[in-house]
């Protein structure tokens, strides 16, 4: 069941088209990644879905209700967190969470806040002013705020940006736990491709305001046919380069290694040719394509 549907969504700022006729849907309990280079239209899309930016054209509906006409009802069941927004610095952790719990009209909010604070290991910090928190503690506070109303739809705009690997890992695991427990649907943007690969069920790639690819992370990776073979030639490097040149392989040196980019199905052929030429390599690594490779190729318009 789709909890969110956007049809033909367009946002123009004067002559500039930030989002160009995109349609997307989000299923119950799904984590949808919204990816793309800077300026692709990800944040603009999120802002429209939050209702703080009006679309130029197109329709948004959530829980089968038109968004604009049912904004209050819908927003009660949504929440949001982003790396570029803060919470009031001169309020304590508790005061900030109480404020947002009241704004979302959370029943028994004192108990709810206590539970979240405990889950995010912030009990000792609950009476600290927000301005005294470290960036990791701050992110945990933002996530407490994001889950305060047990949202059915959660929009997360680069929630793990600026976080150290440990806290970023904690954040991902928490999101996955919540999705599993309460079937929260998440729209997630990030520039961290391994992270997207780890948590997203489906990915939409945006570039210059348009959707240019949509699939599972694995499906997108499969669209890249090439892989990278890294070889270390103990000797005969010159002869190896001549051979690679003769067969028109795309290759480049990387420190003492040689990297060859070729289609995965041709790896055997390459190794056969090296063997026939009696070229000895002492180390070999085959790097399969990643979502990051797909991202780079899309951004450079090579797909």
């Amino acid at each position: 069941m789709d909890v969110l549907q956007a049809k033909n969504l367009t946002k123009k700022f004067g002559k500039f088209i930030a989002v160009d006729n995109i349609s997307l849907s989000l299923k119950e309990g799904e984590i949808l990644g919204l990816l793309g280079p800077n300026g692709a239209g990800k944040t603009t899309t999120i802002d429209m879905l939050l209702g703080i930016l009006k679309s130029t054209s197109g329709e948004i509906s959530m829980f089968d209700l038109p968004f604009e006409k049912n904004k209050v009802k819908i927003l009660k069941q949504m929440n949001f967190s982003a790396a570029y927004v803060n919470l009031p610095w001169r309020l304590t952790v508790l005061e900030n969470l109480y404020t947002f719990a009241r704004l979302y009209e959370v029943k028994d909010y004192i108990g709810k806040v206590e539970k979240l604070i405990e889950e995010f290991k912030m009990t000792k910090l609950k009476n600290e002013l927000t301005l005294k928190l470290s960036s990791g503690q701050m992110t945990r506070l933002y996530l407490c705020k994001a889950f305060i109303n047990d949202p059915k739809i959660l929009l997360l705009d680069e929630p793990t940006a600026f976080l150290d690997p440990d806290i970023a890992d904690f954040t991902r695991k928490y999101i996955l736990k919540r999705v599993k427990q309460s079937k929260t649907s998440v729209l997630f943007t990030s520039h961290n491709m391994p992270e997207v690969n780890e948590i997203c069920d489906r990915v939409i790639f945006l570039n210059q305001g348009k959707i240019i690819a949509e699939d599972t992370p694995e499906g997108l990776i499969r669209k890249i046919k090439s892989c990278k073979v890294r070889l270390f030639f103990a000797s005969d490097t010159k002869r190896a380069e001549t051979l690679l040149n003769n067969f028109n392989y795309k290759f480049w040196p990387d420190n003492k290694d040689t990297i060859i980019e070729l289609e995965e199905k041709n790896v055997g052929q390459l190794l056969g040719r090296l063997s026939l030429a009696k070229l000895k390599y002492t180390q070999i690594t085959i790097d399969k394509p990643t979502l990051e490779d797909f991202f780079i190729k899309i951004a450079r318009k090579k797909i």
Binding site: I52, K54, K71, L87, R90, Y98, F100
Partner: protein, 270 residues
């Protein structure tokens, strides 16, 4: 309308109040400095005056009543700007909070803070200069207070709408715009003291009528004029002008809020 959401915004700003030096200064520090400076100046001038009428009372009365407009107009815009400065605007307006609830919260918040400021100024002026605003204005006090509150709200909302339209580059107006109407409001002098062109402008400002009647009440108290000379029509004109301006300011605010949602200024502001 949700009482809980309105309360959330009110209490969020109340939390900040005692922790913010500048806010404490606006609420109590500067009003106290004004009371002392003006009180001392007028007491000194009074000594060389031939009239038995207390000019201190007129000035302090004007000062306390002007604070109602000044603080109200400031509070409306500054509490909104506080969300911008804290990069919290998107968080607040992505909740189910309606703009009307936000405005109502600002009005309630302002009323609470203003009441405390006025009580503080009343006590200070009574302690230092024996000027009792409650005894001086009697049942007129709530009428004057309400009228000036409306003027402050209209101005505050107008400035808020300008900030939504032009962004934080015009945030200075939150402090300064209301000061431009002070000379025409005739806070410390009668309308007749203004040049003719100034009087024409002053007649379009609701607070002018209030301050004219404030002086009438104080003159009557000092037996300088008859007791029943308060001109009710002036208070009605003030009320009608306030209603017109407040309606316009509300309409303008809503237009600019929707405009800011359309052109992305609500997001870019922070």
């Amino acid at each position: 309308m949700s009482i809980q959401r309105i309360f959330a915004i009110v209490i969020r700003h109340i939390y900040v109040w005692p922790r913010s030096m500048e806010r404490l200064m606006w609420s109590f520090g500067w009003p106290f400095v004004d009371i002392v400076i003006w009180g001392v100046t007028m007491s000194y001038l009074q000594k060389s005056a031939t009239s038995s009428f207390s000019f201190v009372n007129v000035i302090l009365g004007g000062l306390i009543l002007w604070t109602i407009i000044w603080r109200t107009a400031n509070e409306m815009a500054i509490n909104f700007l506080d969300e911008v400065w804290n990069k919290n605007l998107i968080n607040v307006f992505s909740t189910p909070l309606r703009p009307a609830e936000f405005i109502l919260a600002m009005v309630i918040l302002n009323f609470i803070k203003l009441t405390l400021t006025i009580i503080f100024m009343t006590i200070a002026s009574w302690l230092f200069y024996k000027f009792n605003i409650i005894a001086s204005f009697g049942f007129f006090l709530p009428i004057l207070f309400f009228n000036l509150l409306m003027t402050g709200l209209a101005f505050g909302l107008f400035v808020l709408a300008l900030i939504l339209r032009f962004g934080v580059s015009v945030q200075e107006l939150a402090w300064s715009l209301v000061a431009f109407i002070q000379p025409f409001s005739c806070v410390f002098y009668p309308l007749s003291a203004l040049p003719e062109w100034g009087q024409k402008i002053a007649k379009f400002i609701p607070s002018t009528y209030v301050f004219e009647e404030m002086r009438t009440i104080l003159f009557a108290k000092s037996d300088l004029i008859a007791k029943n000379t308060v001109n009710w029509s002036n208070l009605w004109i003030s009320m009608i002008l306030n209603t017109i301006y407040l309606t316009f300011a509300l309409w303008f605010f809503y237009q600019m809020f929707e405009n800011a949602r359309e052109n992305g200024r609500l997001i870019k502001m922070q």
